[in-house]
Symmetry: C2
Subunit: 216 residues, 2 copies
């Protein structure tokens, strides 16, 4: 039978998974609110961010208590330090989903993104959410191959961001400055969500292999 201490260590991983699900939902809903100019959904994502922060703080306190009271051995301490970093990643991803929702709220009742540009947002939202889901799976499975796959998905995000820039900088751009600025910032938010998913995957790789993958 496992003791209370190891049960508490496992519990932290379960709570990280729970936070990852919440972030995935926030990314999906903030994208949906953006494409439908749906204020209610945007407001819910913004309000939900405070809950995510509270969940993060609670996990941080648990991690701190384990560090302070259980004198973890080095490998467990590595796991706890990695968990602290992942909590920070997840809180930040929640902030970014809320930032996406705030652009919907700012432009409401007008849609922030004209219909002709929905494709690029849909693609970025889809890739970002998939990367968040994969990060959640990797926390559970500690599967290094799956963790590396998240880095490939990030290449897809980079390509989407480049094609978004080409679109805006093209002479045929006809949506004006406001849409361009919103789209540039939205692209940045999705890209940062993807970066944090990569960062989580890299921490799992480090925990399992003892080596950080070479930065891209």
């Amino acid at each position: 039978m496992r003791d209370v201490y190891h049960h508490q260590l496992d519990e932290i991983l379960v709570e990280l998974e729970y936070m990852t699900h919440a972030v995935s939902t926030a990314v999906r809903r903030s994208t949906s609110a953006l494409l439908t100019a749906h204020l209610g959904t945007a407001e819910e994502v913004i309000a939900g961010d405070a809950q995510l922060d509270a969940a993060g703080e609670a996990v941080e306190e648990k991690i701190f208590d384990l560090m302070a009271l259980q004198a973890p051995v080095a490998s467990e301490l590595r796991m706890l330090v990695a968990a602290l970093r992942m909590v920070a990643d997840l809180e930040r991803m929640g902030d970014l989903a809320a930032h996406i929702a705030k652009i919907t709220r700012l432009r409401h009742p007008a849609p922030a993104i004209p219909t002709e540009l929905h494709g690029v947002i849909q693609d970025m939202g889809r890739v970002a959410q998939r990367m968040v889901d994969q990060a959640g799976d990797v926390i559970k499975s500690r599967d290094v191959t799956a963790a590396h796959r998240i880095e490939s998905a990030d290449d897809e995000m980079d390509r989407l961001r480049s094609s978004q820039f080409r679109l805006m900088m093209d002479d045929s751009w006809q949506h004006g400055v406001e849409v361009a600025v919103d789209l540039a910032l939205l692209g940045r938010y999705y890209e940062r969500i993807a970066d944090h998913a990569v960062s989580m995957a890299r921490r799992v790789i480090f925990l399992v292999t003892g080596h950080l993958p070479t930065a891209q």
Copy 2:
């Protein structure tokens, strides 16, 4: 006489201060490169980011070793956990200064920012750099009043960002989409540098008082 262990704890704070100075320099130089379209300076900021990351990793390893080998009491452990977070803040601020430099490089030999808009960039660069310097001072002094002053400086950054948005969204905007997109992203980078300085100040307040200031 202080023992080796407490000397090592002090050393970590000294290294955080050192990193803060490096970040302050990077912010100042990336702004200067932007306003003078100086490729060499921009390249140096970009190259310097790798050094900053290496310094951050070295400090992280020292923090980890102290945690693993010295079984720090709760107050010291709080300090070490806060230091881990501050290292992450500082690495991120270095990345953001490099992002600013990359916009200079991307547009070179053309200047990214037309002369008429230098004022807003100068102001943001100045406020961001001051906040980084103040964060460094606060790490050293642990002065809670000075830490709260960083939050007021952040209000100034928010005002600068709002006035920047008004400028871009105004009908009289005549610099086109590309400059607007660059300016929006630059504004975001300076704002995030400021956020990280606030985050560092809040961690010092927490260490000294045991309470996090209410989020703004």
